[in-house]
Homo-oligomer: 246 residues x 2
């Protein structure tokens, strides 16, 4: 399996077509994107291209946002955006841990004030699976190849230090791989039965993005094994009543 | 970055030297292990080689183990082993979520009855950083190259479906990468400040292990960027009082 950071991508702005930018950069780099490759795209450029950017000067914080902002020493307008992106608050400790409208449990609901104009924040794409699908279809149209696309985000996680890349949008691949029924060397069923290739590839790709200079938010993965199809990143969301850890 | 599953490793048994087996298999495969490569080794072969295998017929379950076993419909002897491997029980829902003596929060304290004789279970290496260091030193001695070594385990995680590879032992690399002070395009400090390359590489490598046929629990990663040094996988353990999610 090989991961290649795509170079030469321009600074993304609202209205850009990410799939087109990727296809063009790949052609210029001579990095052939081929059938079966997985293209991992950082959510921040997807959010920017789609205009998922909020001008904080137009945000009126609610009373709840004011209270949380005071407690956590944050900008009440940013807290308001976080609350609007959330279905449910999970924890309040230094940061807001919430369940986003997509179902992801993460810090600050993915609201980010880095790499964007002052007084602005980016939010996660409202339908990241649809964003991934659009990128996949554009690449198919321009380059004529069938790829899988993962929209990745960088998030902290419970119990462990350090952030990791996660898949928040998936198209063209099953985010989970069901190995149930596979037997071990002694004929017993394997302990680990359902793996999450989309999250594993997102983690690896985000590590490669981070290694490179700024401006390489796209990584092409070659030689990954996955199944086509699937229902998008929503498959990765564990319903709270089925969570074993909480 | 490239990940290569190491082929030709024999079935590992107690007393085997994993570092030697890796060096020999690499030579036979013609897969040159080079300075700076990261060698990811699945914990199950490390545990077997080190004799971290428990004969359940010799285990006397405590009253607590009997009660939990009844409630979760598990083998009380296996529950006893899990309790012995744990510092603290975190949750009891279908499986036992506990904090292992190393500090990792995972299901069943890493106790595994797959790929081992009936009536036996493997436990995590008691000192996985030391295990990783021994493998690193053996590879250095035989092949003359400085590599980093990650001992990986496959674990579920809160809030998301599907298991993922994690680093439980690390030698020769800093498991965390501190990017604090890096600025974004607008001169603001980056949101994601400390990444976890060891976990990212473990996730990627375990995905590659899982894709291949059985018996490929070793993956060589080339071209990964990491810092040498570090304090081992214990750096990845987030102390409960500093956990943001729980």
């Amino acid at each position: 399996m090989q991961l290649i950071a795509l170079k030469g991508l321009p600074l993304v702005k609202q209205g850009d077509d990410i799939g087109e930018l990727i296809a063009r950069a790949a052609n210029e780099q001579g990095a052939r994107i081929q059938d079966g490759d997985v293209v991992v795209v950082g959510q921040s450029i997807v959010s920017k291209a789609e205009g998922n950017v909020i001008d904080l000067r137009e945000v009126k914080p609610s009373g709840q946002a004011e209270r949380i902002a005071k407690r956590l020493d944050k900008d009440p307008r940013e807290v308001e955006v976080i609350l609007q992106q959330s279905k449910e608050i999970v924890r309040l400790r230094h940061v807001i841990i919430s369940r986003t409208k997509h179902g992801f449990v993460c810090a600050n609901a993915g609201v980010d004030h880095s790499n964007v104009d002052p007084d602005h924040v980016t939010i996660l794409p409202p339908e990241p699976d649809a964003s991934a699908t659009r990128i996949k279809e554009t690449i198919k149209r321009i380059l004529g190849v069938d790829v899988a696309v993962i929209v990745s985000d960088t998030q902290g996680r419970p119990h462990r230090c350090g952030v990791l890349g996660f898949a928040v949008g998936v198209a063209g691949m099953s985010p989970l791989l069901d190995l149930r029924g596979r037997r071990d060397l002694y004929g017993k069923e394997l302990r680990t039965t359902i793996t999450s290739p989309a999250d594993a590839l997102a983690a690896a790709a985000v590590a490669v993005m981070g290694e490179a200079d700024e401006g390489t938010p796209v990584v092409v993965v070659k030689g990954a094994t996955y199944r086509r199809g699937g229902e998008g990143a929503r498959e990765l969301v564990r319903p709270p009543e089925r969570d074993l850890f909480t």
